[in-house]
Symmetry: D4
Subunit: 157 residues, 8 copies
């Protein structure tokens, strides 16, 4: 993989990497796309830090609901700012957890007119049919995602 | 439950009931809200009809992915038109299935500036924390949802 | 005050009456405008019902902050739906209470492109200068507000 | 407080600091956030200059109402341009003055889709319940505000 | 002129008639279009009432500037509400007066995505070239305007 | 085909039928959908009337370019108003003519957030791949289009 | 006039200078504001070049209407791009010519949410009352315009 | 062709060059405009790469429809991001192929408020009348397109 001739780069992009935080898919995308004029943004991927951010900064809560609520909102400041900035939103779904926040981000991004790329194993196809129906590309590997991004930003693919 | 004095009704609403299709929550909401000036809209709740709509109308597919894709898009015509029309979107999450489409609808509705009300049992609180953080009300029963709607449309609650 | 010749009515309006809930200004506007093709909408003006709506419907809270939060959000469903529907938003400021919600509604309405009319006694002029600067009319009496509305909806004022 | 590793910065922000002009909260935020890739913008905080700007530039007025009106509008050019540019709007409420302009800015920012953070002592909670209900975070100290901002712009909080 | 067969009417329209108030062009349009499903809205065409509305309702002013300002803003409530409602905006320019408000309305309407039709004598062509360049039709007579509207709302022109 | 039980109708729609004017596809759709709560709107389908409308109403032109220009703009008043009103835009492509206006309407509709349904014979698939990629359904017969619309507006398909 | 301390600059602006092209007001504004972080953009101020641009580039026309039309549209590409980019639009009205394009630009800018500053001699006040009513500042000299801009971009006015 | 005096450049532009991929028109525009502060963006012009991108990256398909569909969507990520970024969209129509995607891009761009310039030989005038009616300039040569762009970005044309 060689750095493309600058005259072949058509535009620079901001890409938001939403969803699953328990595998290395973001690192693989960043590594594979290292030569492209793309700024990747992402949520906080330290699970505990993300869960606790509300009470850690704004004070303890007795009820778990409000602990989650305060944390959910601070994470939303980050998430929505990033989606607003992004040209393309990649959402990764995995087998673990319910990942309703990933699907929420996907819906939010589509409604804001962003191009959605989903990334998930084929056995999730039926469960994700409405999300995939709204996507501009459905990938199974991080490398496919980067191949799409490379095609979008270079002039001679 | 008596029909409210018409002079106490301040405005009529359109409310979209998204999410779970395997329990009677929509019927309970419609019954409880029967006296209110609210038009309820909903997705097709016949699971098989919804799953098969793409191939049933537009022709068979060999690959399940494309069967789902064609169906998912026709359902999206319905869903997005309804969200666009709605003042308020209620999204029901239950224990069965992954319901990523429900979370997608919630994200889409919030990005379009609609008021979101979530309806789910308390044990889903942590999994739904980002969705609830975007909601204007988090209810556990259909009756609570109707109580909120009643408050919104009447002048003397 | 005679009902205007129907051929002189140019369009019908929806007007949201925001702000102070402790005086009879809304009743005076409704009475004075009784002959005009205007739908008036308003927040819940029963102070206790408005303050308690969150916990009354969605369950008790130990901390006053969350009681207020739940109530504030349900009231926001109503308020934002009404502002979205309104052509004109009238905001009344009085001497009692801080009425930050009234100023918040005014800012929200202006950002949504609604015509703002403020209604307040002249001794609040300096404190309200930024809000009045965003208003299309600054009135001191409900009757002045109705005179403006009458001018807007009739063809021969 | 050490400058974060550049590779840990996810995006740069513009933050508008609205509200109270009689305490040092803006300086405390700027100092605390000195290492972050954030551009802070603010209204003119010289009270007399802000009050007099209309007549100072555009000519004297006999009536205080029009003096305030001219000043209020010039300040609005600044305020709205800044809110339009901002990703996040922080609004500070204190005990002095009515601060209707602060609440107006909050409403304007929320309607424009900006993330709102409020900053006020806990005894103002009830009076600010509608504004707080629209906020993504409610802080009591400038340091908490910066902790939220730090979380939003860094990759390893 | 016969009433069109209802089955030939494709949609109903709201049309705002902006500009010149000293000739009978609006009456000619209304008469000619009497059989069409079009709601015509218009500014107040009583020159004195329009000029004086600010001080007549909201109180006298010493300076002519503020008298004009108060009136201009009340007229703007009416004008902007009507443009917002309209599908098509017709703006009439004549030889008398500078009619900057007519050109302002035209610019406002185009920016809001409304279809603009201009109506003026051919000798104003050069002076109006930027406004005409933004128009979907440039007419010389009210009858031409109605012919365009008739074409737009009927199925068999 | 029986009229659906009213309680099974979930919402009424406006559907714009764009594209080919030389076959009876619009009549077939209207007939097939006669029982549904759908308002169909369409361009003028009298080819000569559509081509000549500019000069017929606004005066002759020497150059064919300007004759086309004046006609194209009047047709655009109609087309854009209809697309703005529509929930769903159906675009029909046939073998005759270049039909660039049909593809233009499709692009315009998608950018405005309307659900697009394309209708064309399968041999045009490759030529229409970008347009079909933006569509929510790709139909080969008018009856399929109506089946999609029926699914969208009824509660028990 | 000294260059402001960089730490006192709160944000940089783009300002579009619309209207009159026969006096030196733009030069005076640029000179007076030379030290401020403001990018000024403007229409082509060479009257003949502006009038002839359509036919000069795209070919001659027999009818003056189409010559004007082609020129008016090319100028509109420039004007609308600049208004879209601008934070603030200054519109200058003078005694010569009808300047309907200046008023059109003002209306367009206001509808796009830009802050409008008008600049004109006081004897035009009554003729411009609707335009001034939509302005955030009404100036009589270029120096006043710059004083407003200086206030908007510096932290210690 | 000399590089313009930097003080004569009023703003920089992004221009999207859509349409025909079988002639050298893009190269001619880039060469002719080499001295202007314009960033040109374009679709992938390697016909085979563009046609095959979907299956090349995301996996083979049996049916040509889905091969086209996957490719069409990836191309749309690129196209829509570029249109969103562009100030001006130039669309080239030639004699070969149906070029429905070019007309689709034109419609999409106009609906997004971009200035459209069309480029085509005069014998396509009638077939393109609706597209030309929406354009701000209709050119026959790439050199004319650049002359328009030069006029838009320089201060002394």
């Amino acid at each position: 993989m060689t750095k493309p001739d600058p005259s072949h780069v058509s535009l620079s992009l901001t890409v938001y990497l939403a969803g699953e935080i328990h595998s290395d898919w973001r690192d693989r995308i960043r590594a594979e796309a290292g030569d492209l004029p793309i700024t990747f943004v992402a949520p906080v991927t330290d699970h505990a830090a993300s869960d606790d951010v509300g009470v850690a900064i704004l004070g303890e809560e007795n009820r778990p609901f409000w602990k989650d609520h305060k944390g959910g909102k601070i994470n939303a400041i980050r998430t929505r700012t990033m989606i607003e900035r992004a040209d393309i939103v990649v959402v990764r779904f995995g087998d673990r957890y319910r990942q309703w926040n990933a699907a929420f981000d996907a819906g939010y991004a589509v409604a804001k007119g962003k191009s959605l790329i989903t990334l998930h194993p084929p056995d999730l196809t039926h469960a994700l049919k409405e999300v995939d129906a709204a996507a501009m590309a459905v990938a199974e590997t991080p490398e496919q995602v980067v191949a799409v991004l490379r095609y979008v930003v270079t002039t001679h693919p």
